[in-house]
Symmetry: C2
Subunit: 198 residues, 2 copies
């Protein structure tokens, strides 16, 4: 992009490294940023560097936080005897938005994937096992409903059950508001299998 001066080219290039941002979007963002007031640009840039510098894993649940312990683990009103295991902080956020879960979380930062060379020691499983030495009633496995998520769920179940702690898995089924005719066969089969009494 030799028709841009170097600082603009650099900004466009840096932005286009972000996921889901192609070169056209990067251009659009770059010119938007050039048009922003200088203090807002400083705010955006500062938020990035400061978050990168200060954010680490929560010492309990391994989600991202800027303190030692995340706001959820620090909340005494949550049920600390019920731990929901999720693959990443975005999944945690998705469940928090339901407002229906009062327990705490454990973030694995990934899932077991032999294909991708990701084994049990590459995700935050040992940290989960350490937590289970405390008073825990139930581990709810909310990893994704795909090969990696299911493999991880099975692995966790085999580790946790022998300790005498209940392990459950979030239900598979037809999504709320879903049209049965458009749902795939595996999901329909799982929904039938997992039917509940009315």
């Amino acid at each position: 992009m030799e028709f841009y001066s170097s600082q603009i080219s650099n900004l466009v290039e840096q932005l286009s490294r972000l996921p889901g941002i192609g070169s056209k979007t990067a251009q659009r963002l770059a010119f938007f940023i050039l048009n922003m007031p200088e203090d807002q640009v400083a705010g955006l840039a500062g938020a990035m560097t400061s978050a990168k510098k200060n954010v680490r894993y929560c010492k309990q649940c391994c989600t991202y936080t800027d303190g030692d312990i995340c706001p959820i683990c620090a909340n005494e009103k949550r049920n600390h005897r019920q731990i929901m295991v999720v693959e990443n902080p975005r999944d945690l956020a998705a469940y928090e938005k339901t407002g229906k879960f009062e327990g705490v979380y454990h973030v694995l930062h990934g899932a077991i994937s032999p294909m991708a060379g990701i084994g049990p020691s590459d995700i935050r499983l040992s940290e989960l096992m350490v937590r289970l030495q405390g008073d825990v009633d139930e581990v709810i496995v909310a990893t994704n409903k795909n090969l990696e998520g299911d493999t991880t769920a099975t692995y966790i179940s085999k580790l946790v059950k022998p300790i005498g702690i209940k392990v459950s898995r979030i239900a598979s089924g037809v999504p709320s508001g879903g049209d049965i005719e458009y749902i795939d066969e595996v999901t329909l089969y799982k929904a039938l299998e997992g039917r509940t009494d009315m």
Copy 2:
């Protein structure tokens, strides 16, 4: 988003102010940034603040540049007697990518829009008129093919013709209502080739 610590919330909020970035995308970008190496985050943040601080209008064509004059205006191999008038730097970039235009540009930073209260003095028209006092053979108006772009083209034609300089308009190969930056290169080239006298 009280389940995120404050620095993460702040980063997500800052990112979601960018155009086309909703809260889910902002979240995804934020966690991606947290996973980037620290020097890359510094690079991205630095590119923003430094571009914002140093980028200004080219003294000749009014596009963004970090020097006094942009690389195109500084290029002696370009035909400085042929000026293509565009609405914004993204349109300039779109035409540069065709590789078919050897003249120089003039960036208006907008278009006349009585509806939005944008008049001729709100865009970089006077700077164009100053340039036309030099040796110029042709002004090619490549504003968008919509109401504002056409209004601007007509206005420019009425200003420039009396000086005795040829004014042309890119051809209607560009679909009506279309935004120049999103059009494919062949169509843009055809539109340039098929320009008609005004």
